[in-house]
């Protein structure tokens, strides 16, 4: 009888501890999540009419560098279907807008406008002018940030229909 009672107390203690442990782990996990203020600061609006053809401009969104590269007619002519799928067309002009962090380990690749390609000096990864990988180690092309076209403007951080289509057909991963 005595042992039975002790066993019950042991089990009861175990159960209480288990619940407490899971609850505190949950709280600890949540504590390390990005703060709401960090999450909500994630919008940037770009005026697309200021960019010049084949000239890389680096903008900033969520602390990350954003590459904006307006494609010239010759550049578009050279592109295949997969490349073209990465273009954002606004008022007839083609733009490539992507997160300027190498998909390998996150260095910022540099753009060479004569070769029309990006080189990531960290481990030698290369991308073409639309941000597609042309040389490993990067596992995939530069990611495209969520965007919404708003007349002449581009709102980064909001998922417009064009962006959703890019995610669906696998042109970019959702970031």
């Amino acid at each position: 009888m005595k042992n039975g009672r002790r066993g019950f107390m042991g089990k009861a203690f175990g159960a209480v501890t288990g619940v407490g442990a899971v609850a505190s782990l949950y709280a600890m996990k949540k504590t390390w999540d990005p703060l709401p203020s960090v999450r909500s600061a994630g919008f940037t609006t770009l005026d697309m009419s200021v960019y010049k053809e084949n000239e890389l401009v680096v903008e900033k969104w969520r602390g990350k560098p954003i590459f904006v590269l307006k494609q010239s007619a010759e550049m578009v002519a050279k592109q295949n279907e997969a490349d073209k799928a990465r273009n954002i067309v606004i008022n007839g002009s083609h733009y490539v807008v992507c997160i300027g962090l190498c998909t390998h380990l996150g260095c910022i690749p540099g753009y060479d406008n004569k070769k029309e390609s990006f080189l990531c000096a960290c481990h030698g990864g290369m991308y073409d002018a639309t941000g597609m990988v042309t040389k490993a180690p990067p596992p995939r092309g530069l990611d495209i940030p969520p965007f919404k076209i708003d007349g002449n403007k581009l709102v980064l951080g909001e998922e417009g229909p064009e962006y959703k289509k890019m995610v669906e057909n696998g042109t970019t991963l959702r970031v």
Partner: protein, 404 residues
């Protein structure tokens, strides 16, 4: 309650309450050390002293350091270096010790490997030591973040990106670790906490464990001889000090340990006063800039070999090779199938393995430092393959080894 008598002295008063005579006997005067060990066995004490230096200098730096992304850089490079009197001294001690401690850890590790000090009952010594190595690595990395220079920022970016796990694209995990989309305030705060509280606490606990693991199997010796510590201790206590194979840790053995420590400290303070810059990366004297990557990113010298194992492969394979390099040393006691706990030079092929491993790691270190251009990429690739290959052949060659 124990029986207390009127104390005859302060010592007696304390001893009745805390048993300090017993503690002293267990820890020092009757803690037995084999006689036939060389200066390489003093590295443990050298490490303990270096850790103490890190702790003390760290406490002084902590009084002026500010964990804020706008002020961190200046609090280190201006306030501590120029305003605080002798601030430079603490920083140089801290920086040099953080680098040198890894040199000594590597010597300590390779001594263990050479003499087979991880075998037959000494596995826990090796495993707890490897846990210390990993925790020290995390401590060094989190500390490297704090001055918030360019290398801090980009090392933080690159290393946390490893947790996206390549093809798995675990972006949520990376952002959870950083507390932001990029290394920012939340990141600096939590790495500050890790560096000054959680990891040092873990290190102190592990040092206690590492010392504890020595108690039962006792320390190995230069010939891998199995010593009957009780019988030898009896000889020693009966006055036959010359005939005994062991000596007391204190004060006998300590004198030798401390001699090595003092030589080390002369070298250490020479570095602190005249060559502190070897431990400071010039790139880290530019403040962090999230929109500009340094042209060439590399870690501190002590991480180069494992970084180089990651580099020559495509993402997923590279990450697997990197993971392999991180855990494989833990398994050494189980991959070495030979029961011989003798120096490598008496173990046939294992001696070749030992030197090949050491040289390969030096090659990897050198290749990790140079930019990723040919022929370095190819050399690094083959060195990485050699590293993996050596671990694969280890069980085979040690199985073939004759019993001693």
């Amino acid at each position: 309650m124990a029986h207390f008598t009127k104390a005859t002295s302060v010592h007696d008063w304390v001893n009745q309450r805390l048993g300090i005579d017993t503690v002293r006997r267990v820890m020092a005067t009757e803690y037995w050390i084999p006689k036939n060990i060389n200066f390489l066995w003093a590295m443990g004490m050298v490490l303990a002293i270096t850790f103490a230096l890190l702790l003390v200098s760290g406490i002084f730096l902590l009084m002026y350091y500010q964990p804020n992304i706008h002020t961190a850089f200046d609090s280190v490079n201006y306030t501590i270096m120029r305003e605080v009197e002798f601030g430079w001294l603490w920083r140089h001690i801290h920086g040099v010790a953080a680098s040198v401690v890894f040199l000594v850890i590597y010597i300590h590790m390779f001594t263990g490997i050479y003499y087979g000090s991880y075998k037959k009952g000494r596995e826990m010594i090796w495993i707890s030591g490897m846990l210390l190595f990993v925790t020290f690595s995390a401590e060094a990395f989190s500390g490297y973040m704090l001055p918030w220079g360019q290398m801090s920022y980009w090392a933080g970016m690159v290393i946390t990106n490893i947790f996206s796990l390549g093809g798995l694209h675990a972006n949520g995990l990376v952002e959870w670790i950083r507390g932001d989309y990029v290394p920012a305030q939340a990141f600096l705060d939590r790495f500050f906490m890790l560096h000054v509280l959680l990891l040092p606490l873990a290190i102190i606990g592990l040092i206690g464990l590492h010392f504890g693991t020595l108690r039962i199997p006792h320390v190995n010796n230069q010939d891998g001889e199995e010593i009957d510590f009780e019988a030898e201790a009896k000889k020693y206590k009966s006055g036959n000090k010359a005939g005994s194979k062991v000596i007391a840790f204190a004060n006998d053995f300590m004198s030798k340990d401390m001699f090595v420590v003092s030589i080390f400290l002369i070298f250490f303070f020479y570095l602190v006063f005249y060559h502190y810059d070897f431990a400071m990366d010039p790139v880290n004297f530019d403040p962090a800039d999230g929109l500009k990557t340094p042209t060439h990113i590399y870690p501190e010298w002590y991480f180069l070999w494992s970084y180089e194992i990651l580099r020559p492969f495509s993402t997923n394979v590279g990450l697997m090779a990197f993971g392999f390099a991180q855990v494989i040393f833990f398994l050494l006691p189980f991959l070495d199938k030979s029961p011989n706990a003798v120096p490598a030079n008496r173990r046939g092929l294992f001696a070749v393995w030992f030197w090949a491993m050491l040289i390969d790691m030096i090659v990897l270190t050198a290749m990790g430092k140079v930019p990723p251009i040919e022929p370095y990429g190819t050399v690094g690739f083959f060195a990485a393959l050699t590293f993996i290959g050596l671990w694969i052949v280890l069980p085979i060659i040690t199985k073939l080894e004759k019993k001693a």
